[in-house]
């Protein structure tokens, strides 16, 4: 029996417990955290090396759907890998910049967040997904208010308050789903959902809408995005960078459950119907926010909102082609957004020195989706995938890009070109390198766009054909 599937959840959690038990000094904590992030990357690579066929892990050896099942399939592994690739440079940056020493328990919380995210990506059980949403919410809240300060605490209340409403809604949705179907296992749900009798359809629809809203809160979709700008702008820079992947959890869950369960029976086409206008509004708000924000962190936060609009536009289209575009853009915007948050932090702490300006230019180009970085390729994929509704969507996407470019040109030229009173101090080389590493990831995404999309195509096909996923859940080895 291979325990590789659960290892990405356990490794960081156990290391975090270890930190609490033995590591009082920051040096040892750093060492353990680094080992955790590196080990996490290794595990994600090992999982990716197994190929895209879904592998199930039956917790407690209970047969599905009665126990909890984890499944590593193409999409889960992709998200794990993305998380690992973002987490390692961000962690290095945190150490290089000394952010981790500004408060208590950074590394334990960081590792717990990895565990929570990994669990959310791996679980094949709807209630277990709720548990991991809680885990990542609480850990992220701790990281968000790391270091304290009035502004950060105030933003933290917004964050945790709004997201707790989302959690409550999640429970309502799960209760409804369970009351109607009698099950929480995703594959089981997938089989039962289309067979629901007519008398249950109204409630099923309610459950689906509430669940979508939970994911919309996580994914910062208008009108449930209010928590994001303040949170990301007030969070410590590297934490905001790590949060670039937090919004993607919403997109992941929508993709996973949309394809597997909810685009069928009483709720066929429902999510798409709701998601598209919301995504367009999100895209617009993101662009307007990038243009109107006065400081870099807030601008980066609105850019994160806008990128979710693009991702959700593709999710709403619910075709394999659009899913490839969604995934490509999701990876891109995570790396680019993380880089931009790190740059904003560098500029805020160290001033607008030459290397920082260069990194800003590169990450702004990436976030705005301009060549030569992958955002432009993502946009080409996206526009082609959404061709069916070209006039509306294309104009929205291109107009939003235009406003984003304008916004970055305005702040960039004011922040990095205009001579300032205080001279910048040299940034920590390791911090610069960590930021550069994220951007190097974008370069790789650009150069290897062909093979990457081929891989993503496999992932999208795995979503479109849920039979292997369902089959992986069912059989029970051992006894």
């Amino acid at each position: 029996m291979s325990h590789l599937v659960i290892a990405p959840i356990l490794l960081p959690a156990v290391l975090a417990g270890l930190i609490l038990l033995v590591a009082r000094g920051i040096a040892l904590q750093r060492l353990i955290a680094l080992a955790g992030a590196a080990g996490f990357l290794a595990l994600a690579l090992l999982l990716a090396g197994r190929g895209g066929a879904p592998v199930a892990y039956h917790l407690g050896n209970w047969p599905a759907p009665f126990g909890i099942v984890l499944i590593a399939d193409g999409l889960s592994v992709l998200m794990l890998l993305l998380l690992a690739v973002v987490a390692l440079p961000v962690l290095v940056y945190t150490m290089a910049s000394g952010w981790d020493a500004r408060g208590r328990h950074f590394h334990a919380l960081f590792l717990f967040l990895l565990a929570g995210l990994a669990g959310a990506f791996l679980t094949a059980d709807a209630f277990n997904l709720f548990v991991f949403f809680e885990l990542l919410l609480i850990a992220s809240y701790g990281l968000m208010v790391h270091g304290g300060g009035a502004g950060r605490l105030r933003a933290g209340i917004q964050y945790v308050g709004f997201n707790l409403v989302g959690s409550t809604l999640f429970l309502f949705a799960l209760a409804t789903i369970y009351a109607v179907t009698g099950t929480l296992n995703m594959a089981d749900l997938a089989q039962k959902w289309p067979l629901l009798p007519p008398g249950d359809q109204a409630l099923a629809r309610v459950a689906a809408v509430l669940l979508l809203m939970v994911f919309a809160v996580k994914g910062a979709l208008v009108p449930l995005q209010f928590w994001l700008p303040g949170t990301y702008a007030a969070a410590p820079g590297p934490v905001a960078a790590l949060f670039a992947i937090m919004t993607k959890v919403g997109a992941y869950a929508a993709l996973r459950l949309g394809w597997l369960v909810f685009d069928a029976g009483p709720t066929a086409g429902m999510w798409a119907e709701l998601l598209q206008p919301a995504a367009l509004a999100t895209l617009a708000l993101g662009a307007v926010g990038v243009l109107g924000s006065r400081d870099l962190p807030r601008q980066a936060a609105f850019a994160a909102i806008g990128s979710m609009g693009l991702v959700f536009l593709c999710v709403a289209a619910a075709t394999p082609g659009a899913t490839v575009a969604a995934l490509y853009y999701l990876i891109h915007s995570t790396l680019a957004g993380a880089a931009l948050f790190l740059v904003a932090d560098l500029a805020g702490r160290r001033g607008a020195s030459g290397p920082v300006a260069a990194l800003f230019m590169a990450s702004a180009i990436a976030v705005a989706g301009l060549p030569p970085l992958s955002g432009f390729l993502g946009k080409i994929l996206l526009l082609q995938a959404l061709e069916a509704q070209a006039p509306l969507i294309w104009s929205a996407v291109l107009l939003a890009s235009f406003l984003t470019i304008l916004g970055f040109a305005l702040t960039g030229s004011a922040r990095f070109w205009k001579a300032r009173g205080t001279a910048p101090t040299a940034a920590e080389p390791l911090a610069l390198a960590a930021t550069g590493l994220l951007l190097a990831g974008l370069v790789a995404m650009t150069l290897l766009a062909g093979p990457l999309t081929l891989w993503l195509k496999g992932v999208a096909e795995g979503l479109a054909d849920p039979a292997p996923y369902i089959a992986a859940t069912a059989p029970q080895s051992g006894g």
Partner: protein
């Protein structure tokens, strides 16, 4: 040399100057020049084949999924442009080497220049339209860096932003157009697209595609009404202006129109749009140039005008006009680059570019004068220079179009004669007008060599056009029209050619304009002219103001407003979903109502309402919350869920106690923050949400699931499968132990956050200051640590711990378990703190709560991992029976060890919160009791 290498050379060259800079500025320039020269050599090596009509190709995969291939393609049109880009690029590098100040970082400048060169070369070598779009936007970005080079100057920043906004925005439109085009043609490879003329022109999206592509081309090539960015881009250093506005950036739009000419041109829409815009730009640019006084501004508007001319020629849609356009592209690049460089030389020498302050440079700068005269004459279209040839071709083409086009073409030509004369005479003739700080003189060869070479080319190609101009122009025209024209370029075509007479008329009119200039200038000054820059800036400012107005609402930082919208959306969504589906009421019979239930429900409702009404009086509100919690616990007990009831009660006690303790740090009352109407809104929303939730709960409780629920399995398997008779406990620690594993981690993390937050409060800062200034509430009760309370809690401690152990052990079969046990133990310890005070109790605490949490997570995880050694998955449980003498037989279960982890985590979390509260209290001035209770303390305080 492969095309891939040629295309890569400028980008490789972009790294070289930075590396070579250590060896000096000359070495850096040499390195850049070397890369450019190599690329030029590469292009030239293909020239013979291309001139024979061959097309050189190179291809690699990039993003085939989207039709984007890395394909390069060199035909006649590409050859013409590549030659211009690299040839003039070489001269620009030479010129820039001597032009830039020692203070300007040469390495960075050359890197930007090489990047830009690479992007331009990429456009003209692209064999795939999407790749062309990639390089297109790349030129916008790199030119942004070049135009904003003097970034400390506001006009530099503004000019750069404007150029980026206009050309970058146009590029986005072009991308959409290209995508449409590729969709019609069935691919983005140039060869595919160019072969699809009939489909494209017959397609219903031909017009949108055309408009979008032209938007890209017009913005890039500064065609009316997008012409305004180009003059403001003159804030760039002169080498940049000379490069961008003669041979490259602005010619990219022309290139695109020429590239797609075979498939887009020939329709009435094309002719009207392209020729129309070209003609308007031709005249408008020339007219503005006539009245400008800055040398570079005159040249900039002249460029606008000449671009209009070429656009006009492409727009006519005839093969002859297209060929003329090719000739003029070559001619314009040569004389305009020379003129820009000469303007830079004058600027350097005279420290001004205002022609009102110049004059008489004929004598002081004879060499510059000679070169400028020749280049300017070419710009005015005078023989025997290459500008004359192309102008003749233009007039010829206009004459064929006939009608008002001829008049407009002649007017444009006349204006260009006029502004050239003015520029030339004001700069070089007459006497020095302004007081110049330094007497100007000719520069060294480093600066004049590049323009001199260009002027030589201007003259030579005018004199021997069939040798120097015709082959390249013919090849290019052949690539554009698909049909190699037979160009007959000559200075003299005979007196019967209409162009000759039109040309003569234009020169005459131009002289007249020059003569009438003072009067015209007054007229111009007094006539209202829209200032494009002001309009653009107003638009940007308007967009900014609008976006900030949106942000003021969408990012106000007010939680209540955000939650109101969220709850409203949730309600609306839920209601919509419900109403659009079919619903059948549940069939479960309701539980009979009795008086006790009714009464309890009424109390619950009243307590809930009281919490809301009294929420500003914190203590009271907290007490009512406690009442609500206890009633819910009663409800659980009544509905036969003793586990839940136990958990609810203990959780309630712990949270209320902790909150009570923290209340002492807070004001007694919450200030009223929201406006009455906002409260009314919230009331309505909250009531609706509450009713909605109740309705949902009712619907769920009154029905059975459509399929057999999984809980039946849990009930059946609780004993045989999980070894416990309490199904709630076996679900928690076994069937769904992984959920519990996650939730105890959540609890532990929450405690860590409390610790970290309190720690932040204790570090220097405003919060800490407030804490230090805190005055203890005088209080109503006189005793701090009453002896009876202290004694009672001491007695309770072992009992409570025994109860906790009992609850823990029985959990698997009876109500209880690690979670409740942890809370009971925590309550027992908490009472000690309450009774004897923080300080006294804290000093007697041996174990750090962090350890408890860490150990809890680790014990729970280790239990799960233990199953691995039996070859089972995480958290697989095992149980059995032991009968160790002298005890009774009892059951052991690994689940109990897991439950121990739960216990530790819960206990640790509560204790950590308590410990932090005690630290806060001590910082806040709590006197540490010297003794466990007041009586002892008084005795010790006595002397």
């Amino acid at each position: 040399m492969t095309l891939a290498l040629i295309a890569a050379l400028p980008f490789l060259g972009a790294f070289l100057p930075g590396l070579a800079l250590r060896a000096g500025r000359g070495a850096a320039a040499l390195a850049a020049a070397l890369a450019t020269a190599l690329a030029l050599y590469g292009v030239m090596s293909h020239a013979p084949a291309v001139l024979r009509g061959e097309v050189i190709r190179w291809q690699a995969g990039w993003l085939p999924e989207a039709g984007l291939m890395f394909s390069l393609r060199l035909d006649g049109l590409g050859l013409l442009f590549a030659t211009l880009i690299l040839g003039i690029g070489l001269l620009i590098i030479l010129y820039a080497r001597f032009y830039l100040d020692a203070a300007d970082p040469m390495g960075r400048f050359l890197s930007y220049l090489m990047l830009f060169q690479g992007a331009m070369l990429g456009i003209v070598l692209s064999g795939n339209l999407l790749m062309l779009a990639v390089f297109w936007e790349l030129t916008s970005l790199t030119s942004f860096l070049l135009i904003g080079w003097w970034s400390d100057r506001p006009d530099g920043r503004q000019g750069a932003r404007m150029a980026l906004a206009v050309t970058g925005g146009g590029g986005l439109a072009m991308l959409a157009g290209v995508l449409l085009l590729g969709r019609i043609a069935g691919g983005f490879e140039l060869d595919t697209v160019l072969a699809a003329r009939d489909q494209i022109q017959a397609s219903p999206v031909y017009l949108p595609a055309l408009l979008l592509i032209l938007l890209g081309a017009f913005t890039k090539s500064a065609q009316f009404p997008f012409h305004f960015w180009l003059p403001h881009a003159m804030a760039a250093p002169t080498p940049v202006s000379a490069y961008l506005h003669s041979a490259t950036m602005v010619k990219a739009g022309l290139f695109l129109m020429a590239r797609l000419w075979p498939v887009l041109a020939g329709t009435p829409e094309w002719t009207a749009l392209v020729a129309g815009a070209g003609l308007v730009t031709l005249i408008l640019g020339a007219a503005i140039a006539l009245f400008k006084t800055d040398l570079k501004a005159i040249l900039a508007y002249s460029t606008v005008s000449h671009l209009g001319l070429i656009t006009f020629l492409l727009g006519l849609g005839t093969e002859a006009a297209a060929a003329a356009a090719m000739v003029h592209i070559l001619a314009h690049a040569s004389f305009k680059a020379a003129l820009f460089m000469l303007a830079g030389i004058i600027d350097h020498a005279a420290h001004t570019r205002e022609i009102d302050r110049l004059g008489g440079l004929r004598q002081q700068m004879p060499l510059t004068f000679a070169l400028a005269t020749l280049a300017a004459a070419a710009m005015a279209g005078l023989p025997p220079l290459n500008g004359f040839l192309s102008k003749e071709l233009m007039l010829e083409a206009a004459a064929h179009a006939g009608g008002w086009v001829v008049v407009a073409a002649v007017a444009g030509a006349a204006l260009s004669v006029g502004y050239t004369l003015r520029l030339w005479s004001a700069t070089f003739l007459g006497q020095t007008r302004g007081p110049l700080d330094h007497p100007p003189h000719d520069p060294g060869p480093g600066l004049w060599l590049a323009p001199a070479l260009l002027v030589a080319l201007v003259v030579a190609s005018g004199l021997a056009p069939m040798l120097l101009l015709a082959p390249l122009a013919q090849a290019a025209a052949g690539a554009v029209t698909g049909h190699v024209p037979h160009l007959h370029l000559a200075l003299w075509h005979g007196a019967e050619v209409p162009a000759l007479w039109l040309s003569l008329g234009a020169v005459g009119a131009g002289l007249a304009l020059w003569g009438l200039w003072p009067r015209l200038a007054t007229l111009w000054q007094t006539s209202p002219r829209p200032d494009a820059k002001a309009i653009f800036e107003a638009l940007v400012a308007g967009a900014l103001a609008l976006s900030r107005a949106v942000l003021a609402r969408a990012d106000s930082g007010r939680l209540s407003g955000a939650l109101a919208i969220a709850v409203g959306a949730m309600l609306a969504g839920g209601l919509w979903a419900f109403l659009t589906g079919s619903h059948m009421a549940g069939t479960r019979p309701p539980v009979p109502m009795d008086l006790a239930v009714l009464a309890a429900t009424a109390v619950l409702a009243v307590a809930s309402l009281a919490t809301v009404v009294l929420h500003r009086q914190r203590l009271l509100a907290l007490l009512f919350i406690g009442v609500v919690g206890l009633l819910i616990a009663l409800g659980f007990a009544y509905l036969a869920a003793p586990d839940l009831a136990l958990t609810q009660i203990t959780v309630e006690v712990v949270t209320v106690l902790l909150m009570l303790l923290s209340l002492s740090f807070l004001p007694r009352e919450t200030p009223a923050e929201s406006h009455p109407w906002r409260r009314a809104r919230d009331l309505v929303l909250a009531a609706a949400a509450g009713l909605g939730t109740a309705a949902l709960a009712f619907a769920l409780l009154s029905r059975d699931a459509a399929f057999a629920p999984i809980s039946a399995y849990h009930l059946a398997q609780s004993k045989p499968g999980a070894g416990g008779t309490n199904a709630v406990n076996t679900i928690i620690v076994d069937f769904r132990g992984f959920d519990t594993w996650g939730e105890i981690t959540v609890l532990g993390i929450a405690a860590l956050i409390i610790f970290a937050l309190a720690d932040a409060l204790l570090s220097p800062g405003p919060a800490n200051d407030r804490l230090l200034a805190r005055r203890e509430d005088p209080g109503i009760a006189g005793d701090r640590h009453p002896v009876i309370l202290v004694m009672a809690t001491r007695l309770l401690l072992p009992v409570a711990l025994m109860v906790a152990a009992y609850i823990f052990l029985r959990g698997h079969n009876m109500p209880g378990g690690g979670f409740v046990a942890g809370l009971v133990a925590a309550i027992a310890l908490m009472l000690q703190y309450l009774a004897s005070g923080y300080g006294w109790s804290e000093a007697r605490r041996r174990l750090d709560a962090h350890l408890l949490i860490g150990a809890g997570v680790l014990v729970a995880s280790a239990t799960g991992i233990g199953a691995w050694f039996a070859g089972r998955p995480f958290l697989t449980s095992a149980y059995g029976y032991l009968h160790p003498w002298p005890l009774e037989e009892f059951e052991w279960a690994t689940a109990a060890v897991f439950d121990l982890g739960v216990f530790l985590c819960v206990l640790g979390a509560v204790m950590l919160a308590l410990a932090q509260l005690s630290r806060l209290a001590q910082r806040g001035g709590e006197r540490v009791a010297s003794a466990p209770h007041d009586v002892l303390a008084q005795r010790e305080d006595r002397p």
